[in-house]
């Protein structure tokens, strides 16, 4: 107690600050950093969850490098990212831009856009899965058949399945992005627009010279946030393809699903951990790259 009494006020403040910080720090160490470190450790081991862990060296990483499925999955993961992020960004901006100008039923429309974001991804994926079925139960194909157009194989196709799964995933994330964009639009000072109107510049100049440059922090946030989301896509893919997870022929399998299968159907924990480490590095790299590219000069 004597020790505490001898501290200056500033030192006491520091002690208290750390006392309050201790909880989140301990939480992070136990819940985040310890498992992360353990995953890196397991990636160099052989473990089937039941027996002992044995050292395997870099074997898991070598296996990964030579696994054609991994490279297929790697391409799929980036396909989700490269198609998903720009498409959802453009759509959500267009919606937010116009919704911002709209007064009539503004709240109701905003709610409609936000609703899918609040819906359970599992329920949504199953409903879309049934939409995509062939005749006689699929909504889309029944419609096509009714107007005399040949059926489209949505999910049982190596080319159509990935976009078919991506569509509801984009739709589900839209509400959140629209709300963030609208907050960004509201934060732009009115005086810029007033100045532009006095100068009589056309609307596209306003859009490209004022609105979009001033929205940059919002765009950076949404790009980083949705990129991480698409790199980690799982629920939609798994639930729409439970008969053949990530299929047909691995054409829709993202990295997270491959990790899940290695761990919980093949019980190859070391291999799954090695994939997790790779995913971690990809996420880190993509995020750093985007922050650098989109950073203010």
């Amino acid at each position: 107690m004597g020790f505490y009494k001898n501290l200056s006020i500033r030192q006491k403040q520091i002690v208290w600050a750390w006392a309050f910080l201790a909880l989140p720090v301990v939480f992070y160490v136990v819940i985040r950093f310890y498992p992360t470190g353990n995953a890196v450790l397991i990636s160099f081991q052989d473990w089937n969850l039941l027996g002992d862990r044995t050292w395997a060296g870099a074997e898991n990483y070598l296996k990964l490098w030579h696994d054609p499925v991994f490279w297929k999955v790697f391409r799929n993961t980036f396909a989700y990212l490269i198609i998903g992020t720009p498409v959802s960004l453009v759509i959500s901006f267009v919606i937010a831009y116009h919704l911002d100008k709209l007064r009539f039923m503004h709240g109701f429309l905003r709610m409609l856009y936000f609703l899918p974001f609040m819906t359970s991804a599992v329920a949504m994926a199953w409903v879309w899965r049934w939409f995509y079925q062939p005749v006689p139960i699929g909504l889309f194909n029944n419609f096509l058949a009714a107007v005399g157009i040949p059926q489209i194989e949505f999910l049982r196709s190596t080319t159509n399945a990935l976009p078919a799964i991506l569509a509801p995933a984009v739709w589900a994330g839209l509400g959140f992005q629209v709300i963030i964009f609208m907050a960004g639009l509201r934060a732009i000072p009115k005086s810029y627009y007033e100045a532009a109107r006095i100068d009589g510049v056309p609307w596209w100049t306003v859009l490209f010279e004022i609105t979009i440059p001033l929205l940059k922090p919002t765009i950076v946030f949404i790009v980083v946030f949705s990129s991480i989301g698409f790199l980690r896509i799982f629920d939609h893919v798994f639930n729409m393809t439970t008969n053949d997870p990530g299929g047909p022929l691995n054409s829709t399998k993202p990295l997270v699903l491959m990790i899940y299968q290695s761990a919980f159907t093949d019980f190859d924990m070391g291999y799954a951990a090695a994939q997790t480490v790779v995913l971690f590095l990809i996420l880190l790299l993509v995020s750093l790259l985007q922050l650098r590219i989109l950073r203010d000069r």
Partner: protein
């Protein structure tokens, strides 16, 4: 005053009864995966067992099938899991090697008695001089058919051979004006039970042997395997009596009355019985071109985990003895529709000639049990084999060879 005294005495008496009960009771935990009928059957078994052994309480916990294996695998090493656990026969090796289940005591379960009483496929559960686990029930495949659709198409009875199967399926198939299939003659999908049908039944019926060296070497990349695959894919491609992925899942199509025939396991009986408006029959799997019959049989076993010690161990042994008794097997058959693991129960006059269970029980006589290293992995390989031909148009032989190479690599990694 009197009422109050009575109340106090009653309270004291019931409290005493409660504590007396708690003091003697041994509680053991039992785990299985969730399947309506299995849970109902086990509840009935536990009730009977507790009535006979008032000092033992059995608590059952169940999980969805998809999570079951992971939960068991994570819980037992952590000492959190069950005392008696239900495992798929194909997982036994991993559990024995990891020392998570203990051998059944030979005084209560003498190997000679087990070998005499149980169907021979159960011998795969023996390690050294003792049995590690025992099944209550076994399962096999049969051909379900929709009686209403058969009547409508004017078909007398179910097919006896593969040729008849194709002919009957043609009569049952319906298409809309645009040629889209709206009712299949027979369901198809390697994701359901068809991979067993192809592996253990069709390959053998076309004169092959799917594996060698105790299921460690793939052998279906042969002439017989090619013919078997040609027949299977031909159902959709040449005869047009089915479509892969029709109504999402084969059993869904059959339940909805949109499929004339459907190959499935005995475990499906319970859920088909609950489907309103469906009139179905069941028959043995059709014979091959030369009359060969074959079937696939698998089973779930119950074993005692290493967590059970002392009085819990004794209670677990008693419980094991009950769930492998003739009485338990009959209950399991009546409630779940899974076949008794002992001929003494299965081959009774009533059971073997039963309209529903008969075809499955007769199938057991010529059934084969695949020794899987990784069932879902090996199923995936056959699923991909079919899809490469069906979706990507790969030549049949090339796809078959690719599947054989992939499965051999999987087996080599597991056994070496």
């Amino acid at each position: 005053m009197n009422a109050l005294r009575n109340w106090a005495m009653a309270a004291a008496a019931s409290a005493a009864a409660l504590f007396a009960g708690a003091a003697n009771a041994v509680e053991i935990e039992y785990w299985q995966y969730f399947f309506d009928a299995r849970v109902a059957a086990m509840e009935q078994l536990i009730e009977n067992f507790e009535a006979a052994n008032p000092d033992i309480t059995v608590t059952m916990t169940h999980f969805p099938y998809a999570d079951y294996r992971t939960k068991v695998a994570a819980a037992i090493p952590a000492g959190e899991g069950p005392d008696v656990v239900q495992l798929f026969y194909g997982w036994l090796n991993d559990y024995v090697e990891a020392e998570l289940i203990q051998p059944l005591p030979t005084d209560a379960f003498p190997p000679s008695m087990i070998e005499e009483e149980f169907f021979p496929m159960v011998q795969a559960m023996k390690r050294g001089d003792a049995y590690m686990a025992l099944p209550t029930a076994v399962r096999s495949l049969a051909l379900f058919y929709n009686e209403r659709l058969f009547d409508e198409a004017g078909i007398d009875g179910p097919p006896e051979t593969l040729d008849e199967l194709v002919e009957i399926a043609k009569k049952l198939t319906k298409r809309d004006a645009a040629g889209n299939i709206t009712q299949v003659g027979i369901t198809a999908g390697m994701n359901a039970q068809d991979h067993h049908w192809w592996r253990e039944v069709l390959v053998r019926q076309f004169g092959g042997d799917p594996y060698m060296d105790d299921y460690r070497t793939v052998n279906y990349n042969s002439d017989a395997g090619f013919k078997a695959l040609e027949f299977y894919l031909g159902l959709a491609r040449d005869h047009g009596v089915t479509a892969f992925g029709f109504m999402d899942e084969p059993q869904a199509a059959f339940k909805a009355g949109r499929a004339g025939m459907h190959i499935d396991g005995s475990f499906r009986i319970g859920s088909l019985n609950k489907t309103r408006g469906l009139k179905w029959g069941v028959t043995e799997l059709p014979a091959g071109p030369d009359g060969t019959r074959s079937n696939y049989s698998s089973y779930w076993v119950n074993g005692i985990t290493t967590k059970a010690t002392g009085e819990k161990y004794d209670a677990a042994v008693k419980f094991m003895a009950y769930v492998t008794s003739d009485e338990a097997m009959q209950i399991w058959l009546d409630v779940v529709g899974e076949l008794p693991a002992k001929p003494s129960v299965g081959m009774t006059e009533a059971n073997a000639n039963d309209e529903v269970f008969g075809p499955f029980i007769r199938g057991l006589a010529y059934a084969n049990t695949t020794k899987f290293a990784n069932e879902s992995g090996q199923r995936q390989i056959l699923m991909d084999m079919v899809q490469r031909v069906d979706i990507e148009g790969q030549p049949l032989g090339a796809s078959l060879d690719e599947a054989a190479v992939a499965e051999q690599a999987l087996l080599d990694e597991y056994y070496n």
